[in-house]
Symmetry: C2
Subunit: 561 residues, 2 copies
């Protein structure tokens, strides 16, 4: 077994990079693109955003990056909660994990340094139990990252979990199997203790204060961030996408669901409110967040079941499986959280199994039982754990809603074509957070203009990922990035402009495409599965018809690489 | 369900192309490279070699080609037996299957045309039972192609079976999952009835006779084809590769086996001879074959178990699994044949499952039980059916001996480096028949010269695949291709030179690489898995160290594409 060594490095060279800009830079520079994602040459990087810990609303996110075992390309997944924030408090910009090992460790970070402990006591347990054990062992004040039974088994849909402000391990770096990379490196949990450390304060207080005031006022003025998201959460989208014919239903075969009223944001809110008890339709994952899009879902007795139930979870674990009972969706959601698996990839996986009649569409009981197999690591559990794309290969099913091996989030690309462009061309594979276009004012059914819309969204999302900001603030900020630059300048004391942010975002995308190109990606992978071009989505009455030569202008074949 | 239509096309434009040269030409010209291998746009092509049916020894092979669901690239797999020969008797140069369907048909070809029948009565049955049913239904004189339960389930390791001269369905187009492509197109069996058809005779009898005499005399003079292969079969190689440290053992972790004496060609022959009964160590799959490398293996009572037991099967189902009892290997071999699955891919799959302790190394009973799951289509059966590469992804195992998704045949590329070059650079993925170098006089452990050796072997194998010739004749013919050209000229009556053959072979390789490049392959896929470069094979004391820049001169990045 490899010796455990810790090396501290000066981050000065990276002072202008945070979040995804930093993880992608390190991966591009240091990871051989063709290496095995679960082998010794891959690196796993946790990096705080430039604004993480600044006190700005919705800006405490952090990124995790690596070469992905799911896509085979570069990957970044970010999340909120308090763990990134706590890492930043220690003055640590990034954690970089190298090499692999066979046993599992708990890594403890504090102002006194790093310590390693045997993780055996928490192996095989559910995430909530593990998080409780860690807080019982290390103190209620620590923040944790951890992987679940899926990450221990190096499954493609394994996520990394951080904790929210209430200590729940429910904030996920969900996509791309980064939990499997953590598993390959023997990282079961990272415990961060920031006690005895001074709070980071803005270097240029006045500048920061001014910018913050402006930024927060926008968040509080804009209907999306001030009212819709706090009241209905992301589930507000169900009405929108169902009307567009973009709500994935029955393994992305159609874009609307007869029973969709059962799973809307309104119904979700009403259910939680009526049941009372521990439930709340409005919950912040990060302290001081104005948007508070999260929620806590409860059973009929008012006892907490899971949280948050988000739009993507409803779309993938609900309509995509022809399941329209919120209690069933909540139980699937809970199991995903307990096992540390990505809800989107899990819904994609179950959808393909349903298309193959291994489980029946709409059979929530069977879907729940199937998820239990993930924990057991039985053959069926391993199959689910490998993700939708591989399940398609195992069962010979051509209807598999993936790009670069990754399941599409809950927007049928025939009905939100800008997202189809993002799925096809993003270095991240099918990922709405890499270039969300559903809120753009455009005819989502028309092919025209979607490449520009996606290109812009991909850049904006990269800026947000760089700063550690939640993408939900982008509707309020729009393209007034200078305020964000002022926040960064005020916080860091270093000059920073909106143009700098744009430049770094574009440079980041370029590094990511370059990595993927080295890893073997070509325009042949910058496409959707055949059936989205050929089989009409009967709800939207459209196929995906953005021309291939337009896609080539922004994907891995773009001219400036 | 799609209507069944039959279209007859004039083959004049393709008169100089046969076997692999023809299948690859059609795939290159007509199949969209990024299409789903099991979707409507893929084509499945059966093509006879230019010498098939001519009466030349070991020259009745035929090729099957398609885009492979296993590799995602172009694929050709050829086999002997009598079915290709019988197709040629009907004057049919190639069968091209388009589109997909959900039900299964039996396709009957005779001089009176094509007929389709419902295949329901033979679904789910073992191959030997199916072949018997077909001969009982259509007459003992017909020749058949068929797929097994694996092809019905569209598994990646599904093969297509033809029959040998005794009517046994044991000649396999094994590699690349072509049986799954047949399954996707609803082809359960093709029955060919050549009764009432005149035998094809050489157009230039004298020229053909002269060349044939020369060619046959070489086969009868050369120790390999005259003595070693007829006596010991391909299993003669066990001694050679074990001594080289190239015999894959315990999931390609080392290249020699302690008990290798139990599985040598000598032991195989001795066992068959001693047991007597229905067994024979020397058997021809094609009528008139001088080499007769096949065999029939029997149990202690002299009853037939399976046949043939070949070197690759011993290496992959034996040493690679740490199994050294010929009766166990024979039973695994038998199950592969009955279920219509590729023995190499199956051995690779079981090897990775053993590396993951899903089954224990050396546990033949468990391996046999696991194979039964393939027929059942249980989750474990589906996992095995997906092939070694995907199993690596399902279990997070980096030690997976595949290139372009396909399991290496029974030569550790650290110890036979020319084959390592072939594995890395052939358009076919890891495939010894695409460029066999083990019999070349070279230091197989040294990196020097291997690229040239492989390049030459890749060309020669392509020539052989074009003509429908068995690669085992190449040792006798060496580079005296003019005799082969004379055979072709004599048989077809058209001018044909050795240079023509060379040119067509090189053009075929070029088309194949071009297809793969369009399908998304780059030099990133022209490599072996990391561990062959980094972890020493303790038997050969070598790693694979042929420089990457040398590989680039002959793979998908070669300059002339």
């Amino acid at each position: 077994m490899n010796k455990l060594t810790v090396k501290e490095e000066d981050g000065t060279n990276y002072s202008r990079l945070g979040g995804r800009a930093l993880t992608s830079k390190i991966i591009h520079d240091e990871v051989p693109a063709t290496c095995h994602p679960l082998g010794a040459h891959n690196k796993l990087i946790f990096a705080t955003g430039l604004l993480t810990g600044s006190g700005a609303s919705s800006a405490d996110r952090y990124s995790v990056g690596a070469k992905s075992p799911l896509t085979g390309g570069i990957k970044e997944a970010n999340a909120g909660g308090i763990t990134g924030l706590t890492l930043g408090k220690l003055g640590i910009k990034a954690l970089v994990f190298e090499n692999i090992r066979d046993d599992f460790k708990i890594i403890h970070l504090s102002k006194d340094g790093v310590q390693f402990a045997d993780a055996t006591p928490i192996l095989g347990k559910d995430l909530s139990e593990t998080a409780t054990w860690l807080r019982d062992s290390y103190g209620k004040h620590v923040a944790v990252w951890l992987i679940g039974v899926s990450g221990e088994q190096k499954m493609n849909l394994a996520a990394i979990a951080g904790q929210d402000k209430d200590g729940e391990p429910t904030r996920f770096n969900g996509r791309g199997g980064l939990g499997a990379v953590a598993g390959s490196k023997g990282i079961k949990a990272i415990v961060i203790d920031a006690s005895g450390v001074e709070k980071n304060r803005p270097k240029d207080k006045e500048r920061f204060r001014q910018a913050l005031k402006q930024y927060h006022s926008w968040l509080m003025e804009t209907p999306g961030t001030a009212k819709v998201l706090p009241e209905l959460g992301t589930a507000a989208l169900v009405e929108t996408t169902n009307a567009l014919g973009a709500l994935p239903t029955r393994n992305f075969s159609i874009g609307s669901m007869e029973d969709y009223k059962n799973i809307t944001g309104e119904t979700l809110r009403k259910t939680i409110m009526e049941r009372g008890g521990e439930g709340t339709p409005t919950h912040a994952c990060m302290p001081g967040c104005i948007i508070r899009c999260s929620n806590v879902y409860v059973n009929k007795a008012g006892k907490k079941v899971t949280g948050p139930i988000e739009y993507e979870n409803i779309g993938l674990l609900g309509s995509n499986l022809d399941i329209s009972d919120l209690d069933d969706i909540a139980e699937l959601n809970r199991l995903c959280n307990e096992y540390g698996i990505d809800t989107i990839e899990t819904g994609g996986a179950l959808g393909v199994l349903m298309a193959q009649n291994v489980i029946s569409f709409g059979d929530a009981k069977a879907a729940i039982e199937a998820l239990h197999e993930v924990k057991k690591g039985s053959p069926l559990g391993r199959i689910i754990g490998s993700g939708a794309d591989i399940i398609g290969k195992i069962y010979g099913e051509p209807h598999v809603p993936t790009v670069k091996g990754q399941t599409m989030p809950a927007y049928d690309p025939r009905a939100v074509k800008g997202l189809g462009v993002t799925y096809a061309t993003s270095p991240m594979g099918a990922d709405h957070t890499a270039g969300q276009t559903v809120r753009v004012q455009i005819n989502h059914h028309a092919p025209e203009g979607q490449v520009n819309v996606s290109k812009n969204a991909q850049t904006v999302n990269t800026i947000w990922d760089h700063l550690g900001m939640c993408m939900f603030s982008s509707g309020a900020v729009q393209n007034r990035w200078d305020i964000l630059a002022d926040l960064v300048s005020g916080y860091s004391g270093e000059p920073f402009t909106g143009d700098d942010m744009l430049k770094i975002a574009n440079e980041t995308l370029k590094l990511e495409h370059t990595f993927n190109r080295r890893a073997g990606f070509t325009k042949a992978q910058d496409k959707l599965p055949d059936y989205f071009y050929e089989e009409e989505n009967k709800a939207s009455k459209t196929v995906f018809d953005v021309p291939a030569n337009e896609l080539e202008t922004i994907g891995v074949t773009r001219n400036d690489l």
